[in-house]
């Protein structure tokens, strides 16, 4: 493993290991169990994202670049920020590597679907909120500010 590999691996490990340890629920054994289950499910999502680093250039059978570690770390950070606010109310997202080097996160709510695309490098975000039944666009936007992005998503859960 090169020094660069080691440093970037540490970046991901930091994101994985610092997952929130508790939500607002407390004291009840069932709450603890639910929380642990939720933690495991989101942990599995983090592992999936971390595994994208093994995709070689051209992994999509075309010209897809490798999914860089900064993009992976930012994807995990977005999930963690939502998790800190929503606790076990946050469903695990569907995640997928994009053919342009980004990462797609999708949440399905009862009435709406939220799609977030993290651009290659992890600095640009595009989001789409659409009605599930009709595909009508409720909101679509771009931002470079992770706080704005997380706020737009959080509003959908309230």
């Amino acid at each position: 493993m090169t020094r660069e590999d080691s440093a970037t691996t540490s970046l991901l490990e930091e994101e994985i290991l610092t997952v929130p340890s508790s939500s607002s629920t407390m004291g009840n054994v069932n709450d603890f169990s639910e929380e642990e289950d939720h933690r495991k499910r989101l942990g599995a999502v983090f592992s999936k994202i971390a595994a994208y680093r093994h995709l070689p250039q051209g992994w999509d059978s075309y010209r897809a670049p490798q999914i860089d570690l900064a993009t992976q770390a930012v994807a995990m950070r977005i999930i963690k920020l939502l998790w800190l606010s929503l606790g076990t109310a946050l469903p695990e997202p569907f995640v997928a590597p994009c053919s342009d080097g980004g990462i797609l996160l999708e949440w399905e709510l009862p009435m709406r679907e939220i799609s977030v695309t993290i651009g290659q490098g992890g600095t640009d975000f595009e989001y789409l909120i659409a009605e599930k039944a009709t595909d009508n666009i409720v909101e679509e936007g771009t931002t470079r500010d992770i706080r704005i992005l997380v706020t737009r998503i959080l509003i959908q859960f309230i």
Binding site: F94, A96, D100, E106, T117, L128, D135, I137
Partner: protein
């Protein structure tokens, strides 16, 4: 290699990586490239498009639908693939999603 006109009704093939499939459907993750490579269906076969990529699925989209989303669709033959074409243009999340929603499986990806 002669460059062919692509009619609105023409089908275009796109290979889909299994990681880009959700609930048995292609997702927008497979349609984000601003220069999206596809094969012009009338110049190839699903088997040819998938040769050497047995772990992928193959989906088709219609050229006219891509054009309706402000995408440029044109034949771009290369030596290794005379059927190669491009769907060129910025793919916003709603455009990528619309392309994914319209995609039809020609060959399902193998179940892993």
């Amino acid at each position: 290699m002669r460059v062919q006109e692509i009619a609105d009704a023409d089908d275009l093939y796109r290979r889909i990586h299994p990681l880009q499939v959700r609930d048995g459907r292609p997702t927008s993750a497979a349609f984000t490239d601003p220069e999206l490579s596809v094969d012009l269906a009338k110049l190839t076969t699903p088997q040819q498009s998938l040769s050497d990529y047995a772990s992928h699925g193959l989906a088709s989209i219609i050229a006219g639908h891509a054009r309706s989303l402000r995408q440029e669709v044109f034949h771009n033959p290369v030596e290794s693939n005379p059927a190669h074409a491009l769907v060129k243009g910025k793919k916003t999340p709603s455009i990528a999603k619309s392309l994914a929603r319209s995609a039809k499986w020609e060959v399902l990806p193998p179940i892993s």
